[in-house]
Symmetry: C2
Subunit: 336 residues, 2 copies
């Protein structure tokens, strides 16, 4: 076999791939380390939403990867946290092929073998919750390999553990990855587990990205005080750059997985928080902010009560519904 | 708080609850130990598909459980493998309330607290892949508790890891549990991970159950040789008891998660195996076997390629589709 060491320049889903970084697939370049809280920085090293696309006629594909640490979660499996999945593009649609199931810090597994040597177009989604310290792909010695740098005006997602991908059963089922495949658009995942605090420091970084659509999904990680204090400055910070004066910014309400849940206090607190967010957005619109949108939670996952693993984090049913819902809303708004 | 130790007599989803057993929630009574292979027996101790239903006006519910061993899987999370989930019945529908997330061999967590003291109807689904050595529920000291023994002609499922519940994100999302809630029917889960071998020893045990519908979903665990050798004797063994001469028996084809998968050899082998199963079933019908049905795999999960974690085991999207599909088929046949 011959091996290709995958580097920053090969992948989608990271900011400024050509800027120096400590870990190849950390989502921010190194220069932003001092701009964000330590918790955010540490999580930003996780490869959530990162992928590599390539075409090859190899009959077998080996994947070798090393993880930074032995991170495990009780409500999410190891494939989503520490593993990979492979898709094939065929007739303009992506089809799931196989998963790279991790067993330890160092992992090595075939994603396929024994295939016919026809040229195919693949994408591999990276672990949602760990940091990769190395990644190599192994191909037939005599095969052709072409890295595909998929470039399109990006959708930028900023949010919580749910945005990061908790609790998809495999990386490709995080909602940002589903949307990326369904729309054939670059998506960048700035989900920071427990740390989607609607921070101005993040808006400052996001403001540097041109021609993007910004989707802000922080509500599970913030309280009413932060909604009140940060919504306006956050919008203003993104809009502070000339190129982003009128860029689309979409806020998403906090969803409720069970409107009939007997914990009425919790339901009430979420409803009130969502109302406060709506008020902030309405105020900004009234003051003249263009291309600012709020997506209501109604109907996003709660067709029944089955779409979460724990009442909060989406399972695969939830991610399928959430991504479908967001695509519909983006179409309704006229952004895609 | 006051505590209730849950025992065999309290639960649904086990065979002959009043017969002696080593572990309270093992699916077979002890007397069948010598009737099945060791692998099947060991797996039969797992509490897959077992549940307890009760009504109570308690404001808080504590769950304390002890697991037999530290069983973990890389492609399934700990909640599905070792944990619980709680549903509430309201307006004749079941609503997910919360999950009991395991962290160790001994676990203790609130499933809710701070609720209004109204009488509510609950169900708790048990771990899909471990064996419980003890289970206690804790209620307000002054609360009312009534165990509900839900009895209805049962649906009996015999099959593989997928039947057992691999890889649902929480126990309630195994397809047998979804079907049980949607139809308000008792379901018994005889899924044995890797060991759904269409064995006559299992048919002998199943034959003792009266007024049941038998759903046989073994195809992932058997090859063409076993399909050819065991299908007829399996049916005959169930039908050997007078009460089951004409009981409904439904075989399910092996599903394909990606019809366009580039591994054509694998696709071909499944298609051929399914054709062989159909031939066996058709032969039996021709010979006069009544109430024998085959459910084709087409459309059961493969609306897209997203319904599995690894190409084989269903994720929550897959279980939602599979249960919906089976309910439709049972209706089409006229059995429900």
């Amino acid at each position: 076999m011959k091996f290709l060491r995958i580097k920053s320049k090969h992948v989608q889903g990271i900011l400024e791939p050509n800027s120096p970084r400590k870990y190849q697939f950390q989502r921010f370049p190194q220069k932003y380390k001092s701009h964000v809280r330590k918790e955010v920085w540490d999580l930003s090293e996780n490869s959530a939403g990162v992928s590599v696309s390539f075409s090859s006629n190899t009959s077998r594909l080996l994947i070798k990867w090393t993880l930074k640490n032995r991170f495990k979660m009780h409500h999410m499996n190891d494939v989503g946290v520490n593993g990979f999945d492979l898709y094939q593009k065929k007739n303009e649609e992506w089809h799931f092929i196989s998963a790279g199931i991790p067993t330890d810090l160092k992992n090595e597994t075939y994603l396929f073998k024994g295939l016919q040597k026809h040229l195919k177009h693949y994408r591999i989604h990276f672990p949602l919750y760990n940091t990769l310290t190395s990644l190599e792909l192994g191909f037939d010695v005599n095969s052709d390999i072409k890295i595909i740098n998929e470039k399109s005006p990006p959708l930028i997602f900023y949010g919580t553990s749910i945005t990061q991908g908790g609790c998809a059963s495999r990386p490709g089922l995080a909602y940002t990855n589903i949307i990326s495949r369904k729309l054939n658009r670059t998506c960048i995942n700035f989900g920071f587990s427990g740390n989607g605090h609607l921070e101005i420091s993040i808006a400052d970084i996001l403001s540097k990205i041109d021609s993007a659509i910004f989707i802000i999904d922080c509500m599970w990680n913030i309280d009413k005080k932060i909604v009140l204090k940060n919504t306006r400055p956050f919008i203003n910070a993104i809009r502070s750059k000339k190129n982003n004066l009128n860029c689309p910014i979409i806020f998403h309400e906090q969803y409720l997985s069970n409107l009939d849940h007997p914990d009425k206090k919790f339901i009430k607190s979420v409803v009130e928080k969502n109302m406060l967010l709506k008020k902030q957005i309405d105020n900004e619109k009234y003051k003249g902010s263009k291309n600012l949108h709020l997506v209501a939670q109604e109907g996003c996952i709660n067709k029944d009560t089955e779409a979460t693993v724990d009442g909060t984090h989406l399972n695969d049913l939830g991610f399928e519904r959430f991504s479908h819902h967001l695509i519909i809303k983006l179409r309704d708004i006229g952004l895609i």
